[in-house]
Symmetry: C4
Subunit: 227 residues, 4 copies
């Protein structure tokens, strides 16, 4: 495998992306579903309805984390859609990304547990924010690496690549700002994470575009690069 | 990505459905298997057989939820069978559907725990019913969106589309009725959910069709649109 | 979807088997991995080595169940290898099979817990045996249904079909015998389940065939129908 | 299925590798994600930050095990990339490998629990090392079996095969050495496992190659056989 090998032989190497996609989908699916184990059942004696309502931080943490993992999966899907093959470094960047996805139930549990406790909630929200930042950072890194190393399909236009970069990178800045806010007002940061996640899950722009164009048009197919 | 782009370029965008199917299968598989963690083992001292039998609400809840998730998966399979590609909104509708699938073990656990408790069982059965309704509603929504946006394959006949719609939509009404019944007689609602789920799992109509036609015929292949 | 439709249109219906395979692989993978959650860690005070060795029934139950699920997965793989498409009834037979696979951690847990308890171990071993019998029965049923309904690929020889049937059906008889033995001598039945599972996992016949033919031959490819 | 059958008919048998890959990806994904359930949340009363920091052996064990499973998955991906089909023995070797992957959370839990306990940590680290050795051994065995039985694609060069063997086999030696060290100095062995896993995850050689060649070259595609 020296530099003197012909280019067409080199191209034949490189791994299919199917295994990488399957492992990723598995870890995304498990990380988001394991969160349900944290939803505890109050004891049957006493006012069950009241106890269930009092658990609201647990539900909130569940919702934010599911939305965040869903969001991360959406970005990951777009990236692998553009990939033609994977190389040694890309597979490892992806593994580090999956590490931070699989660990998210831990800070989620912390936020749910500590949200009514003043000194502990600051720690929980900060660890949670750092985890989100790491997921965002390694998603961006994976994408930029794939583009730089030309692992993406040849038929992608420059516009698509720019559109994806323009979508992934700013979310890092908003995550960093939310961590700063969380150090001062932890509860505000949790609300912010919920807003960010819902903003991505609810496709405001896509819905708006749809409505504007109306149903009569035959051209209303959303683009691959902009889910 | 403006409206002036030619239609054939637009078609090239849109995501494969393979990632969406893989994530969905993962979450369906995990949500249905995690339910087994709720089946507790009675202490070895005392009459184990008696204790095991006394846990019947847990087994019932497990069975109903497994059948319900299986049913939802069957509908989901039929929908994706018709899909040619996914767009931004479809992927998000699917994520919301998966959210309600992944959360089902929580009300299942509640029903199992509270079924012998008068005031709590009403809450448990109602939350459970709302969860089932949400799963049904987002399954229908995903389907109608795909049809409206022409994300389905071109070669589907109008009949197939109508047959699927005719199958998905009425189940919403039966879920809503069961929630109402559950507010008055919670145990009746649980029995009803079991009947609904088994009615879907046991393919009465398909078996009947099979029997009527007999084994001699070469034409006994059930249709794609009607599992 | 009446009987007067032409045959070629009917053939176009029927679902791909990919979703069914993906859900099955997910449930097989989770059911076998969830078993590890039952392996408890003894408290650090006291003789840890001794406590670990004393947990042998837990390890045994884990091993038997992993081998049994692995065995069931092998049979399932062979069946789907022969399938060209799935129909309404096949998908449901498969769901019932997956139900019994996903529930196996429960009797496994019971066997591990009760193996040193005389009255309880009989119940545990019998429930475990019935679960294994149900897995075997629905595997056979799925196979025979697929063959009867001609859902299998056309290019399968009669010999292959007979070979698979000859492999699936006798295991039902051995499971039934083991249940009977378990009612009298529970520990013997557990040993028997281990032997059966290992007999399938360790490919004695295949190894023997390999050895007999030697490495020099170019013809030593084991057949598709006989893993 | 006798030795007199023609060779081309034999070739038609043999299973696709897709099911084997799907089950493997599922078990790799679950085994690595289940580890997060061991990360316990300290009680909210008291110094939460301090309690979290004191849990460092749990985090370390989590990190080492995730990296080890990731590493094993990388090797597994390379092997299946070369496979054209699976036979009876290969599927079973793979099941034994998956058994040792799925059981890894148990010794991981032990290491995390016993790392501050002198007599118990030796046992924990040794069991952990034996588990890693078994994963490595069955990965190598699967590979060598596939090569010997010519289950790999015909278009693989001898160089690729040698490169993979040269990568898999030495790791067995380093695992064995680490087990020996663990009997004397358990904590050193844990550090060593971390270093080995990170050395594989962080692609030093690939990064070095990349840097040396620079970004201007069009030839910088890493080879398939050397992730």
């Amino acid at each position: 495998m020296t530099d003197t090998e012909p280019a067409d032989r080199r191209r034949r190497f490189s791994l299919r992306t199917s295994r990488m996609e399957a492992l990723s989908d598995g870890i995304f699916a498990i990380a988001s579903t394991l969160l349900v184990l944290d939803l505890a059942i109050p004891a049957a004696n006493g006012d069950v309805g009241h106890s269930l309502v009092e658990q609201w931080p647990t539900y909130l943490a569940y919702l934010v984390s599911f939305a965040t993992i869903g969001n991360s999966w959406l970005n990951h899907s777009v990236i692998t859609e553009y990939l033609e093959r994977a190389d040694a470094i890309l597979l490892r960047l992806n593994l580090v990304l999956l590490f931070f996805v699989s660990v998210l139930p831990f800070p989620t549990h912390m936020v749910a547990e500590y949200l009514s406790n003043n000194s502990a909630e600051r720690i929980a929200v900060t660890v949670y924010g750092l985890n989100l930042l790491a997921i965002g950072a390694f998603t961006s890194l994976t994408w930029h690496y794939a583009v730089a190393e030309r692992l993406a399909r040849r038929d992608n236009s420059e516009d698509d690549v720019r559109a994806i970069s323009a979508k992934l990178d700013p979310s890092l800045a908003s995550d960093a700002v939310a961590i700063g806010i969380g150090l001062l007002w932890p509860k505000v940061a949790v609300a912010l994470y919920l807003v960010i996640a819902l903003f991505v899950i609810i496709p405001f722009r896509a819905v708006f575009r749809q409505v504007r164009r109306g149903r009569s048009s035959d051209l209303n197919r959303p683009g691959r690069g902009q889910p």
